[in-house]
């Protein structure tokens, strides 16, 4: 029955929900960010972070510190927390947690394929992959020469296999087609994830449909922005938009024919939820759009913790932690390059 999860949710998933809420309590707050922005060197940042949840991960790092080390260690914390939860999760929750990581898996696949195309070293590429999206045979991606081999050799055993359709495997690997491949995979993944959450029903379906709709609409917006002026046809562009979300289907029609930023803006402002985002953007400014979209995502993720007894908190925790890592990276880069004037521009405060 819809809405009665409070009676039986805790049987299997109560413990893990309590754990993820504990992790959420450890996210950095405004006073922590204030301390970080006042640091003069990366060692100060390390000192400030040892007082937070990241303490155990950064404590043993020797100087000289690099930004990439700090970011890697913080990501390691997310990965450890995630794996702790994943190995204790019951079947439905385990499938949900896996679904959350497929996005990273797609990014890793594209990273390795692109890197191989530019003849980079496989080991170097593997180091750059996101740890949450690793799978066993990922190194063999470097061997594939075209899409068909890619699919046949490696991807058919991964969870991404259903997202490859027939028409995708015929194309050769080149720059344009790789981006199209990435976006097609992502579209299939989001559709699948949304269908899975819908089948779960109840509060999970309600909360996740909102979060995933925003993700789908944000991707549609980014695809449109990035494909203005390229040789991507309107129909191809429309095929990359997901089959759900606030913009589906009428907003997609308008976005697919948009040719510049003002037309995109006009299409997006017809949806009241996104009109707020675009109101904060002055005329002709496209740079601040990324930050405003991140702020909107963070707001929605924080709001989903207000309800209990659903799986959305796990997805939201992953997104919030990733935003925090992006913030730490921005602060570390500003401090390392001694450009502290714009340090507050790049931080998206979580609370």
């Amino acid at each position: 029955m819809w809405g009665w999860e409070q009676l039986y949710f805790n049987i299997k998933d109560g413990f893990l929900e309590a754990i993820v809420r504990g992790h959420r309590g450890g996210l950095l707050t405004v006073p922590d960010y204030n301390n970080l922005t006042q640091c003069e060197a990366l060692d100060d940042i390390k000192l400030n972070l040892t007082a937070t949840d990241y303490g155990a991960y950064l404590a043993n790092e020797a100087s000289p510190l690099y930004t990439s080390t700090i970011v890697d260690k913080c990501t390691q914390k997310l990965v450890d927390d995630w794996n702790n939860m994943r190995c204790q999760a019951d079947e439905t929750l385990a499938k949900f947690l896996d679904f959350c990581t497929y996005g990273h898996m797609i990014d890793n696949v594209v990273l390795i394929v692109t890197g191989t195309l530019h003849e980079r070293d496989v080991q170097e590429l593997l180091d750059k992959c996101h740890p949450l999206g690793m799978f066993d045979s990922i190194a063999t991606l470097a061997v594939a020469a075209n899409m068909r081999e890619l699919y046949r050799l490696v991807l058919v055993d991964t969870p991404l296999a259903p997202y490859f359709s027939e028409n995708l495997t015929h194309e050769d690997l080149d720059e344009m087609n790789i981006e199209i491949m990435r976006n097609t995979l992502y579209k299939a993944y989001l559709d699948d994830f949304a269908a899975f959450c819908g089948k779960l029903g109840g509060t999970t379906a309600e909360v996740m449909s909102d979060l995933l709709a925003f993700e789908a609409d944000r991707r549609a917006l980014n695809i449109t922005l990035n494909s203005i002026g390229t040789e991507l046809t309107r129909d191809d562009r429309k095929k990359l938009y997901s089959n759900f979300g606030l913009l589906y289907p009428h907003g997609h029609n308008e976005l697919s024919i948009a040719e510049d930023f003002d037309q995109i803006r006009a299409a997006m402002e017809k949806v009241p939820a996104y009109a707020n985002v675009f109101n904060k953007l002055g005329y002709g400014e496209a740079q601040m759009l990324d930050k405003l979209l991140y702020e909107e995502e963070v707001k929605r993720c924080c709001a989903c913790f207000e309800q209990q007894f659903h799986y959305g908190v796990f997805y939201a925790y992953m997104k919030l932690r990733e935003q925090e890592i992006r913030n730490i990276m921005w602060v570390s880069e500003c401090v390392a390059q001694d450009q502290k004037a714009r340090i507050n521009d790049g931080i998206v405060f979580l609370f």
């Binding site: 409070q6 009676l7 109560g14 309590a18 809420r21 309590g25 209990q308």
Partner: protein, 208 residues
């Protein structure tokens, strides 16, 4: 949950419904489709002792079901939240105690009810009206107390789970949410009071 017709509840409900319908149709004289007078005869001949002991069983059984439900809902959240914030454990045991109290209500009422079970002499093998009334009253009292404790236990458990999680984030919230739990546990008391009133004046050996 799968589609509507494969809902697990139907696996219990459908056979029971079919079986009871077949029983009603098949029993009694074949003059009528469903022989209502015969069914009524069967019903009024059920021994009052059956009703009385069913009442006692339902009272203690459903109360303890409610209490157990509440305890597991609260306990799983409490254990998970206490990993990061160990200070919440001692205060939040109060939620568990409220759930346990619900079970105790059920046991107390069941003990009171079962003292009313006495042997009676039957004239010509028939029970008097007073005996029948006692049986029905004890059944009703047990049912009342049992079901109200069932929902009370569930309510206190769910609120207790939220209480533990909120206390872990912000310790000023604990006492405020505890007030909600106190109101919730009053529901169980209502059931106990009404049950005792219903069964209080009855007894098998009383006349009329």
């Amino acid at each position: 949950m799968e589609g509507t017709l494969l809902h697990p509840g139907f696996f219990l409900l459908a056979p029971l419904a079919i079986a009871s319908f077949c029983f009603m149709v098949g029993v009694g004289s074949s003059d009528r489709f469903i022989d209502w007078p015969y069914l009524w005869l069967l019903f009024r001949n059920i021994s009052p002792y059956f009703w009385a002991v069913m009442g006692v069983a339902l009272c203690v059984g459903t109360s303890i079901l409610g209490a157990a439900w509440g305890i597991f809902v609260t306990g799983s959240s409490l254990v998970g939240a206490a990993i990061r914030v160990p200070r919440i454990t001692s205060k939040n045991l109060i939620s568990i105690i409220f759930c346990e109290a619900v079970a105790i209500y059920g046991v107390i009422v069941a003990i009171i009810l079962q003292t009313k079970l006495e042997n009676v002499t039957r004239e010509q093998g028939l029970f008097t009206k007073g005996n029948m009334a006692a049986g029905y009253a004890i059944f009703g009292a047990g049912l009342t107390c049992g079901f109200s404790n069932l929902v009370c236990g569930m309510c206190v458990g769910i609120v207790g789970s939220s209480c533990a999680l909120s206390d872990a984030q912000n310790s000023t919230l604990f006492v405020k949410i505890l007030v909600v739990e106190i109101f919730g546990s009053a529901l169980g008391l209502f059931g106990v009071i009404v049950g005792i009133i219903m069964a209080g004046s009855q007894g098998f050996a009383r006349v009329a």
